[in-house]
Amino acid sequence: MSEIDDLYQEVILDHNRSPRNFREIENANRKSEGYNPLCGDHVTIYVDLAGGIIRDISFKGSGCAISKASASMMTTELKGKSQLEAESVFENMHRMLTGGADVEGGDFASLGKLRILSGVCKFPARVKCASLAWHTVNAALKGVDEVASTQ
């Protein structure tokens, strides 16, 4: 498989074409905006957090296929997880995207389907596209009320 096919796998293209949970949550009690000043990608993450559990999570915004697919997959993965679990997924994702570590190895196995985003490691200029939604949800869960940035 070429690096391009590795990056733009069918699952990613599918999430780009039909992003999941691409909507606002009216009564979201956590909301955070993320912005990548380099390319103008913009995402807003909505979370309905109750009793430490992510009852609902969604996103809106505009960006490239990688950032959209990453946000879309994130919402499907984090829905129903506890805040602590979500934070641990964030840590692992962050390490996988920035470290270029062996995705078959221990910690990353827990990332399941999200490992498909590891193709981005070979494209340093695109790592921030994949990590934008994750930085943003991290800020939302921590209740940080400012625009998250990939910078």
């Binding site: 070429s2 690096e3 733009y8 390319c39 103008g40 960006g63 296929a65 990688i66 695109r126």
Partner: protein, 420 residues
């Protein structure tokens, strides 16, 4: 699209323009990237350098390196002479009246900041208006916003039409008794539109308003004659015109520069310093505090020598032909939309797809060895005007070929194959 204006060539006879010969002058164009032949279409971001420029910089560091305007020794004399010779070349390049009007800066951005802070803070006041256009680069927006914040002036923006044309009628309507400065681009970096700068200057001068032109994207393509245009300030960057990064030029009319205070203080910009008072140096040194980018200035001089040796009628014909060919080729791609179809354009083709983001276009083209820019091009208001988050931008230089446009089109078809 109309033909480019001509760059006047000095009297000497020029060799006939042959793009393959030109390409051999630029060593980087022989490089392979990602296993493919490099197709460099990101000239709007920065241009490649001919061997003559690389050699001039090496020569300076190998055999002339010394500080200028200070030493009494041999090397300092040689370095000073080379640096000042570059200033004279730039004067000729812009057809400025005098070398005093040529100020070395780091680039277009610093040139505009210099005018905003030195001229703007001295001669503008609360309630005054500064007019810019809707297609400025951030470097011709932010310095004026900062100035407005400092003195309470107001920024007014000339709208553009849907093709990306500068509309003189709109400009006229914005001018009033409060307008104290006009700052517009000569060629838009995101759209390629050529602004009718001569008419802009004429209209502004009828009301006694000085005009600054951002020439960063114009100098690689158009003949610029600051006396003919009549502008008060003209700014450009060396690296976009086949010279090094880190050096640029502010042209200013000497009667304005004379009454402007220094922008930065330090060495070289003074004639006498005591703890009580400092007397400033004469033009242009008053605006050149500290040791400058000497090698950069010399390298820029070499770039201008290189351009002067070309037959610009033929270069212009080649570039016009290339842009027309690229416009036709990209227009033929289904679902591709060109952003910016101004009647007069130079060197830039911005495009978008409804279903593929520019970033993804850029990554896939890069795998084919084709370098373009993807993003907002430091012109976010232009993106907002056209309702797109970003565009893919191919930007051309005199060394590009139709074969490279074909490679771009093949790459675009690869993009469409991935995204279906």
């Amino acid at each position: 699209m109309k033909a480019f204006q001509k760059r006047q060539s000095p009297g000497t006879r020029k060799a006939s323009f042959d793009v393959e010969t030109i390409r051999r002058d630029f060593p980087i164009l022989q490089e392979r990237v990602r296993g493919k032949r490099l197709v460099y279409l990101d000239n709007g971001a920065t241009s490649q350098k001919p061997q003559a420029v690389i050699d001039a910089i090496s020569r300076y560091y190998q055999s002339e390196n010394s500080n200028i305007h200070r030493g009494v020794h041999y090397l300092s004399e040689v370095a000073t002479a080379s640096y000042e010779a570059a200033r004279e070349k730039i004067r000729g390049f812009l057809n400025a009246k005098s070398q005093q009007e040529i100020i070395f800066v780091r680039g277009t951005t610093e040139a505009i900041n210099l005018v905003a802070q030195s001229y703007g803070r001295t001669f503008l006041k609360e309630g005054d208006e500064i007019v810019i256009s809707a297609m400025e680069h951030h470097s011709n927006i932010v310095p004026w916003q900062m100035l407005c914040g400092q003195i309470g002036a107001r920024l007014r923006v000339i709208p553009i039409n849907h093709d990306g044309d500068f509309v003189l009628e709109e400009f006229k309507q914005l001018l009033n008794d409060k307008t104290k400065l006009v700052a517009v681009t000569h060629v838009s970096n995101a759209l390629g539109s050529i602004v009718p700068v001569k008419q802009v200057v004429q209209l502004a001068h009828e009301r006694g308003i000085p005009v600054l032109l951002d020439g960063a994207q114009a100098v690689p393509h158009l003949k610029v004659d600051v006396q003919d245009i009549g502008c008060d300030f003209y700014a450009f960057s060396g690296h976009k015109v086949f010279g090094p990064t880190g050096v640029g030029v502010l042209y200013g009319k000497s009667q304005l520069l004379d009454v402007m205070p220094p922008y930065q203080g330090g060495g070289d910009m003074i004639s006498l310093v005591t703890f009580e008072k400092t007397h400033y140096n004469v033009l242009p040194y008053k605006f050149e505090a500290g040791t400058p980018h000497i090698a950069g200035g010399i390298g820029l001089g070499a770039a201008i020598d290189y351009l002067n040796a070309l037959d610009w009628d033929q270069v212009t014909a080649h570039e016009t032909d290339l842009l027309a060919y690229a416009t036709d080729a990209l227009s033929a791609v289904e679902t591709l939309r060109i952003i910016g179809m101004a009647k007069e354009k130079a060197g830039v083709l911005s495009f978008v797809f409804d279903h593929v983001h520019a970033h993804d276009v850029g990554t896939i083209l890069d795998q084919e060895g084709v370098a373009i820019r993807a993003g907002h091009h430091c012109a976010m208001p232009v993106m907002q005007r056209f309702g797109v988050p970003a565009t893919a931008r191919a930007s051309f230089a005199l060394y590009n070929t139709k074969g490279e446009i074909d490679a771009l089109v093949r790459g675009i078809h690869r993009v469409l194959k991935v995204f279906g």
